[in-house]
């Protein structure tokens, strides 16, 4: 975080160079808002039913040292909130019948089918983050234009709907100690930075993300994919309003509308 600069510093060539550097870095980090197969438009016309799979959500607590630790209870809560948020948004669509696939309604082999597809979806997420983070590289841009990713055939649950909505969530929650320490650091340095340009160290308060994908229920091919982030501890997926807000962003530009 840059501290407040003096009037003379603001006109200093060094300031302009720093700003230009951040512009270049920003250009390198911007990727497409969503990814889709080239034949998506043709295929979504045949979709009459969408089943929302139970989301996979991991919530970590970050302590003062920056070490993340997964918290099972928080992850379970966040999963329920994200799932409810997805159902609320998706059920607004009038053109398709949207259902949620409760694990209780599934057999052991069907639950295994879903779990394995979610694990592959995690790997797909990692690959897409890698490609989109360097979307300016021509070879990567070509990969994204010819989007062709899958979570594998659904042998067991493919008959339950024409398409499936898969959701992967990730959240980092700072411990109270970390938040308080960050506040003290920022407050202490802000005063010292008032008279000249300095970098103020601060602690990262964590990041939240949701990835959603519309998947062909027979083939497992991903028809449409979007990933959204929320930084600096602004989102808490355990909170229903917060989860709903991030889910609305994630489903923006969903290819099926009323």
């Amino acid at each position: 975080m840059l501290g407040k600069a003096s009037r003379n510093s603001a006109r200093h060539p060094g300031v302009r160079l720093v700003c230009l550097g951040f512009v270049f870095l920003s250009i390198g980090c911007v990727g497409p808002s969503f990814l889709a197969r080239s034949d998506m438009e043709k295929r979504i016309g045949a979709i009459a039913t969408i089943a929302i799979l139970p989301p996979s959500v991991d919530v970590y607590e970050i302590d003062l040292t920056g070490t993340p630790k997964r918290v099972d209870a928080w992850s379970d809560t966040a999963r329920e909130k994200v799932w409810a948020a997805a159902a609320t948004e998706m059920k607004k669509l009038k053109r398709v019948l949207v259902t949620t696939l409760s694990p209780n309604s599934l057999s052991e082999s069907q639950r295994t089918d879903i779990t394995e597809s979610q694990l592959v979806f995690e790997a797909v997420n990692a690959s897409l983050l890698w490609l989109t983070s360097s979307a300016h590289v021509p070879q990567f841009a070509e990969k994204l234009r010819n989007f062709d990713y899958s979570v594998g055939n659904f042998a067991e649950i493919g008959a339950r709907a024409d398409a499936l909505l898969m959701i992967r969530g990730f959240d980092q929650v700072s411990s109270t100690g970390r938040k308080v320490t960050n506040l003290i650091m920022v407050s202490a340095m802000a005063g010292a930075a008032a008279s000249r340009m300095v970098l103020i160290p601060s602690l990262s308060l964590g990041q939240s993300s949701l990835s959603v994908a519309l998947v062909d229920a027979r083939t497992g091919e991903i028809l449409w994919y979007r990933r959204v982030f929320s930084a600096a501890g602004l989102t808490d997926l355990r909170d229903p309003e917060s989860a709903a807000s991030l889910m609305r962003r994630a489903l923006k530009e969903f290819p099926i509308s009323d």
Partner: protein, 190 residues
């Protein structure tokens, strides 16, 4: 921390050039569709549409969709170097069966590979020399199941291997044939 103008300018210029792709960053990924000849080491046909991580010296890494989904590693390693997990070296006089046994032990000693199972062992030609084939499966810490196949051969003072891994669901079986065709084009050059 005050940022002096002189120290700032070269760093920002380098960052800008690397960001817009003018100056390739270390570990640049490129696509090529041709026979790759790595000097006096090995040659192989790179599949169309696959990404190759450069620069290639003794190790070549290829992927089609990202290394989390499929990755081919082709490498030449000195036999003086210990295997990284089992901490034992290969020996020049070893037969292919003995090499595959030690490689299987090395895979088993890799702490990132959980529940490792060897699914297939065989002796076979590798790059024009007597070698072995190992097929195996394992889980990573997230419980994702992965499958791998390794071909290897000892030639003079070098161990050459081609390794292909991917999630057992969809990706490994889908690209297996591509890898086997690549392996058939592999030639050790001396």
């Amino acid at each position: 921390m005050n940022l002096g103008r002189k120290s700032l300018l070269p760093v920002l210029l380098l960052t800008a050039l690397m960001t817009v792709g003018i100056l390739p960053a270390w570990g640049t990924w490129v696509t090529i569709e041709r026979r790759w000849i790595s000097g006096d080491k090995f040659e192989v046909d790179v599949p169309a549409g696959w990404l190759l991580r450069g620069p290639v010296e003794d190790q070549m890494i290829l992927t089609r969709d990202g290394v989390w989904l499929q990755v081919v590693t082709i490498e030449r390693v000195s036999i003086e170097k210990e295997l990284s997990n089992v901490k034992k070296p290969l020996v020049k006089s070893m037969l292919p069966e003995e090499i595959s046994e030690l490689i299987a032990q090395d895979l088993g000693a890799d702490k990132t590979k959980l529940n490792l199972q060897i699914l297939e062992r065989a002796t076979t030609d590798v790059g024009g020399h007597p070698g072995f084939k190992l097929v195996y499966s394992y889980e990573i810490s997230s419980k994702l199941k992965k499958t791998g196949v390794c071909y290897g051969a000892l030639v003079d003072a070098w161990y050459y291997y081609l390794n292909y891994e991917g999630p057992s669901r969809h990706y490994f079986p889908r690209d297996r044939e591509t890898f086997e065709r690549l392996k058939d084009t592999f030639k050790i050059t001396l």
